[in-house]
Amino acid sequence: MKISEITESARFAYESLNSNKLRSLLTTLGVVIGIVFVILMGWLLSGLDAALEKTVNVIGTDMLYVDKWNWSGGKNWRDYESRKDINLAQATEFCRRVTTPEVAMPIAQKWGAKIQFKNQSISGISVQGVPAEYVLTPGGAVTDGRFFSKSEERFGADVAVVGYNVANTLFPDGDALGKEIKIRGHKFEIIGVVEKRGTFIMDFIDNQTFIPLQTFLGIYGTSGRSLSIAIKAGNEENLANARSEAIGLMRQIRNNQPGQPDDFSINESQMFREEINSLRMSTWGVGIGLVSLSFFVGIIGITNIMFVSVTERTKEIGIRKALGAKRGAIMLQFLMEAAALCFVGAVIAFAFCSTVIAVVVKVFFSDSDYLSSYVPPQLLLTASVVSIIVGILAGLMPALRAARMKPIDALRYE
């Protein structure tokens, strides 16, 4: 294929599209919709991935959580319900005896609590009673102020570290530090605020509020609640060892007989990956379905209009053939026209998606940082390539028909 033929084909394609602007635009509709789905799907999936990474990091990739409940299992909840609570004695014994991990600590939590500040209040809070070591886990990363100290914990000080939503709701001006709030009628001083960490996967995490474990037990008591144990393995390589030690030790403490299943669960960040993966698969499934459907419609439309274009230009094909255009040159002209048509569709789709995504993120997800407010650049590349391939597929039959015309028949066409 000669350079001169290729540039000539490009000119031909441009001329053809330019002289039929409205028709071209309408024809690309199917492709536009298809590319819109490609871009939106890619954008959603990258949002999912970003949310997942964030969640996994907040939980900690080297963390294990021993719990009565299994995070991922909804269907066996009756089994978990019937398990005995993990009481304070068991949790303390576990933390004292465990050797493999860097650190292990008991955590007590109260769901659905209410926090008051003057005459305002926020409910649906999960109050977490944790030891001072909790600051070593990703969950204890305070951005504003500080976490409570070992002595504050020991003396059961009335200090609290609040989650992003709590601070943001009660103190929208960002002056939460030093304020006095009430939890169950007890006064607490806010000494720290945790940054926004929640995504749609764990939106409740920003409603957490941490107080010293001793203080917690003083307010809510020790009985009637199941504690969790947070285990920080230290690094990901140590995770497997820490897991097997935790299972063995916990079975011993909980008196699980050989052959009897564990009456506790070991939860970890990887469980979210599995959950997200199924979400990913369904996004893919729906996406691929919609994309193929619209491309199918789009290809039929473009093939059809390309046949029209070939017929309209029969005489021109005849002239070009008479002057020495080979089959390949004629093919290329129509393939380029079809590809350009689809590429225009991709550009339209891209402009549309950019607007929609920017608006949606601004209006509905303004404080989320996992959904990007622009179309990721690699999606632009994907969309362009896909559109050109679709164009070539759609243009193949008409281009072949044009290329195979006998010069004399094409010239005689009126």
């Binding site: 001169s4 033929e5 005489k315 008479a322 002057l323 020495g324 255009a325 004399i408």
Partner: protein, 241 residues
């Protein structure tokens, strides 16, 4: 006579169309040799097969039977792309209806054969402008066909036929759509081309036009009726035009 190898050699060419089960012979049996620097006129009544013959000679169409050798090569065994190459490099075709690309300027139209032989843009443009000058259209480069008169269009078409320096120029009633004055101008152009060494075959209805050629082939019902040198002497008709 150790004649030069003919450019065109056809033997017992026939072209049959089957219409509604009936066979229609556009050409029955035509044999011809055309040598370099001949100037041939093909004449005959309407429907006698002149255009059919020209289209076959120009490799735009293929015969149903017979032998066709172009410069000694068997045309009938050539592929589509090989035929395209012959049309591109060896044949300059001039049509009665000009057959210019409506959307392209005249100089672009003239360039087009070079596009398909892969000549670079700058050289293409230079050669096209040169040929446009030689047909007297140096001042009409950027005009589109619909901005030109019929005679000017045919000159553009002739320039396009000339640009590749083809072995032979085929013209099917090149003056058929022109008035007699403009037709004469075009014929002068062909005469000059022949004088400078080109080989020309043209189809015409008019004896006046055929007089310019050095050999006249008459066709009737798809057969060669007569094939004679033009007796008129060269000097007298070159005066006439």
């Amino acid at each position: 006579m150790a004649a030069e190898q003919p450019i065109i050699h056809i033997e017992h060419i026939a072209k049959v169309y089957t219409m509604g089960g009936e066979k229609l012979y556009a050409l029955r049996d035509v044999s011809l040799d055309i040598s370099p620097n001949e100037y041939v006129a093909i004449m005959g009544p309407s429907g006698s097969g002149k255009s059919t013959l020209m289209n076959i000679l120009g490799c735009l169409d293929t015969p149903s039977s017979g032998i066709y050798q172009f410069n000694g090569l068997d045309v009938r065994s050539m592929s589509d792309n090989e035929l395209a190459e012959i049309r591109n490099k060896e044949i300059g075709f001039v049509f009665q209806t000009f057959n210019l690309l409506a959307r392209a300027s005249s100089v672009k139209n003239v360039e087009l054969p070079l596009v398909y032989s892969g000549v670079k843009r700058a050289e293409r443009r230079e050669r096209a402008e040169q040929v446009m000058h030689s047909v007297g259209l140096g001042d009409r480069m950027e005009h589109k066909p619909n901005e030109l008169s019929g005679g000017q269009r045919q000159r553009v078409a002739i320039a396009r036929a000339l640009i590749t320096n083809p072995a032979i120029i085929l013209a099917d009633e090149p003056t058929g759509n022109l008035d007699s004055k403009t037709g004469k101008d075009i014929m002068r152009l062909f005469y000059n081309l022949w004088q400078s060494g080109n080989t020309i075959i043209l189809v015409t209805h008019e004896e006046d036009i055929a007089r310019h050629a050095r050999r006249i082939i008459r066709i009737r019902d798809g057969c060669v009726e007569s094939d004679l040198p033009n007796e008129e002497n060269e000097a007298s008709y070159s005066e006439a035009i």
